[in-house]
């Protein structure tokens, strides 16, 4: 339901006013028309506006696009041009449907939010757009629609709530006109409030009878024309005597049947009030309805004759009356509930008979209640599958297909996970090979040293502490990798200097052993991200440099780590690598090392970590007699 306020002020005399407004209460909806004829103050402008109003009133049963097309053809409009909004808000559905061409102000105020409603540039009659779009916008309770001619300044948009504040709608419209109306133009504005009816969607509908469907566009509706505030709507006289007469006639013919209908079908409220929890599905006409319904009835109803009967009736109801059918199921009954007028109910009643068919005159709704002839377990998987199938409008075959796809998709997800697990294991193996080797050597040496009586207290202490250190490092590697694959870890603000220092201290023993000198310079750049992952990358780069030194048998071994303003470079003098190799180093499983040493995941993982988890770039450049890896973080 809507409420409406309107206000207008001519530039010159009323007879020269080109802005106009109509609110027509039609049987199914509220029609709102706002227009602004080109020019102001001239008599012809006012006449054109009046002519459009009359034409719309006389043809108020037309659809929006038909009204637009009709007005565009009018004589004065073709010379003066017209900005026009034609919209309607149906009584059963919370939407605004409209077409709007020309320079009108149009928006929706929803809570604190202003929603711009689109309109098309141009002028009806003079320079209309080639194609006029129809628009539909879902409305929510207490939405305010604002429409005005360009005689109201746009600033109203930001201050609409203030204008509304505590006023009724006509008052608000007056206020807007007073505060935002341009002094040198006709000005007019309309404020419409949408109030969602208590019944809500999907519970009750008024359904037009078949007679109405045929003649719906000939019944003229209620018209209000005065551009005066407040009482904009006038009640119609309405001509229903013909239909009433016909109903009376048919009622007389069916006296005995009528009695039956009255006695056996009229429901008490228990039969009409269905538990929302049992709502299985709501059906309305769509390309999928028939398939949905067949699947549903196939599952619920075993009796072949009943099956055909219910299918026919429900499909007819959905298709021809185009109403929604709600299907409720519990473990004893299935209910079909839909809106229908009494005439239809009378036709349907004999098909099902007493105890099965119910009709409520107040709610104008029918309920067909069937006792289930087999057990339906509403908690079963089959039941939920059928529900899913019916909801998505899939038949049995396509539902099986759908399920296959679901399986495939989850398999692909699983495989992606396995692949990264594989990568992780490869990477851990890569990280572990060196420390494991160290431990093995130390253990083997034990025999040798013992035989030479060199195992004293100092030796044991040293043995224990170095091995524990190595084991500690291995355990940390696992933690680091586990962190890498955890998705829920938190980003933290950390200093790059600390992160790199941490790695260097971890690697101190190794670096010493291989006689590698490290030069490290850093500013205090702070980075928001995953510290352990950056460390993992640095660790990998160091370990690669160390391997390169070993391979080359370099004499002077130097690694230079420079950190400055979000760039970390790791440079060595281990001889570099050929171009062909350099081009492939970031590929997974590419390695130049023999299998005992490398699996080739190292640099690939590094690049992945830097790009995906740290949102940076990892690049390689050749330097004189060496390699340089650079990590460049994105601006934060």
């Amino acid at each position: 339901m809507i409420q409406l306020g309107q206000s207008s002020r001519p530039y010159g005399g009323l007879e020269g006013m080109g802005d106009f407004f109509l609110h027509i209460v039609r049987e199914a909806d509220d029609l709102i028309v706002v227009g602004d004829v080109g020019g102001h103050g001239q008599r012809i402008v006012g006449q054109a506006a009046e002519a459009v109003k009359h034409a719309v009133k006389d043809n108020a049963d037309l659809a929006i696009d038909e009204l637009m097309a009709m007005v565009a053809q009018m004589r004065h409009i073709k010379t003066l041009g017209l900005a026009l909004f034609v919209g309607c808000i149906p009584k059963g559905t919370p939407i605004l449907m409209y077409q709007c061409v020309g320079n009108l102000l149009l928006f929706l105020q929803r809570g604190d939010r202003v929603i711009e409603l689109s309109r098309q540039e141009g002028l009806l009659g003079l320079a209309a757009p080639e194609n006029i779009s129809s628009k539909a916008i879902k409305l929510v309770d207490n939405d305010h629609l604002f429409i005005s001619s360009d005689g109201i300044v746009k600033a109203v948009k930001q201050n609409f709530l203030d204008c509304l504040d505590g006023r009724d709608l006509p008052g608000a419209a007056e206020k807007i006109l007073a505060d935002y109306g341009k002094p040198n133009d006709d000005a007019m504005c309309v404020v419409v409030r949408f109030i969602k009816s208590g019944a809500g969607l999907g519970t009750s509908y008024t359904v037009p009878s078949k007679e109405r469907a045929k003649t719906r566009r000939t019944e003229t509706a209620l018209v209000s024309d005065k551009p005066a505030p407040a009482s904009a709507s006038v009640k119609p006289s309405g001509d229903k005597s013909d239909r009433e007469y016909r109903e009376l006639l048919s009622a007389q013919k069916l006296t005995s049947f009528d009695d039956q209908f009255r006695i056996y079908s009229i429901a008490n409220s228990d039969e009409m009030q269905l538990d929302e929890q049992d709502l299985f599905v709501s059906l309305h006409y769509s390309p999928l309805t028939a398939e949905r319904l067949v699947a549903l009835v196939d599952y619920l109803v075993r009796d072949a004759r009943l099956k055909v009967k219910i299918l026919t009736v429900v499909l007819e109801v959905i298709k021809n009356i185009d109403t929604q059918v709600n299907v409720y199921v519990n473990d004893r009954f299935v209910w079909f509930r839909f809106s229908a007028q009494k005439t239809l109910a009378k036709q349907l009643f004999p098909l099902f008979g007493r105890g099965v068919f119910f009709y409520s005159e107040n709610e104008q709704a029918c309920v067909i209640r069937l006792l289930l002839d087999h057990d339906v377990d509403t908690g079963s998987e089959e039941f939920s599958e059928i529900r899913e199938m019916v909801r998505f409008g899939l038949n049995k075959d396509s539902y099986r297909n759908f399920k296959d796809h679901q399986k495939k998709d989850s398999l692909i997800n699983q495989q992606a996970k396995l692949a990264s697990m594989g990568e992780m294991i490869g990477a851990i193996a890569h990280q572990w090979r060196q420390p494991l080797n160290e431990i093995a050597i130390r253990v083997q040496q034990l025999h040798y040293f013992y035989a030479r009586n060199r195992v004293d207290e100092n030796y044991v202490e040293d043995f224990v502490s170095t091995n524990l250190n190595t084991i500690d490092f291995m355990s940390r590697t696992i933690d680091d990798f586990r962190n890498f694959f955890r998705v829920d870890k938190e980003r933290e603000l950390f200093s790059i200097k600390d992160a790199v220092s941490g790695v260097l201290s971890l690697q101190e023993a190794q670096l010493k052993k291989y006689e590698i000198a490290v030069e490290f310079e850093s500013d205090n750049y702070q980075f928001l991200g995953y510290k352990s992952e950056l460390q993992q990358v640095i660790l990998n780069l160091l370990s690669n440099a160390k391997d390169a030194f070993e391979e080359q048998g370099s004499e002077e071994r130097k690694i230079r780590i420079m950190c400055s303003e979000g760039t970390i470079s790791v440079e060595d003098n281990a001889g570099g690598m050929p171009d062909a190799v350099a081009q492939r180093i970031f590929e997974p499983y590419f390695t130049t090392k023999d299998h005992a040493k490398g699996t080739g995941v190292g640099l690939y993982i590094c690049k992945t970590i830097v790009e995906k988890n740290l949102h940076g770039k990892l690049s390689y450049t050749a330097v004189e007699n060496g390699s340089k890896f650079t990590i460049q973080f994105a601006e934060q």
Partner: protein, 126 residues
């Protein structure tokens, strides 16, 4: 995710992907089912009435909602617009666009149609 739809589109596969996407965002079965149903209604409409179209689903993190946008370059339905949008008031019953169900299921709906094509934007809160 962006999906292209034409007459040969395998709707079941498409729906499975949509459902997968929806269930990665919400654990609530009804929400997942409704998002999938919205996609289903739109996809079937495009297949039935337009030569081809696109459907895209996007999670808007700030607003905690899914934006389902579809467009096609079919003939549109401006000529039967009001009947197609209204619930229970169509005169012929042969329209069958299933649009009222979109109105019911989504939180915000914006439909634009002309003889040059149709655009639908649905917002569904998660």
């Amino acid at each position: 995710m962006n999906l292209r739809i034409d007459k040969k589109t395998d709707v079941e596969g498409l729906l499975s992907r949509v459902e997968n996407f929806a269930s990665s965002l919400s654990a609530d079965e009804t929400t997942v089912a409704e998002i999938t149903t919205i996609a289903s209604e739109i996809a079937y409409n495009i297949i039935k009435y337009a030569p081809e179209g696109t459907l895209s689903l996007e999670y808007l993190e700030n607003a905690k909602c899914v934006r389902i946008a579809a467009s096609d370059c079919g003939p549109g339905f401006a000529d039967v617009f009001e009947d197609a949008m209204k619930d229970g008031f169509s005169s012929s019953g042969s329209l069958g666009l299933g649009l009222p169900s979109l109105v019911r299921m989504c939180d915000e709906l914006d439909v634009t149609t002309s003889s040059h094509g149709t655009k639908i934007i649905c917002i569904k809160g998660i």
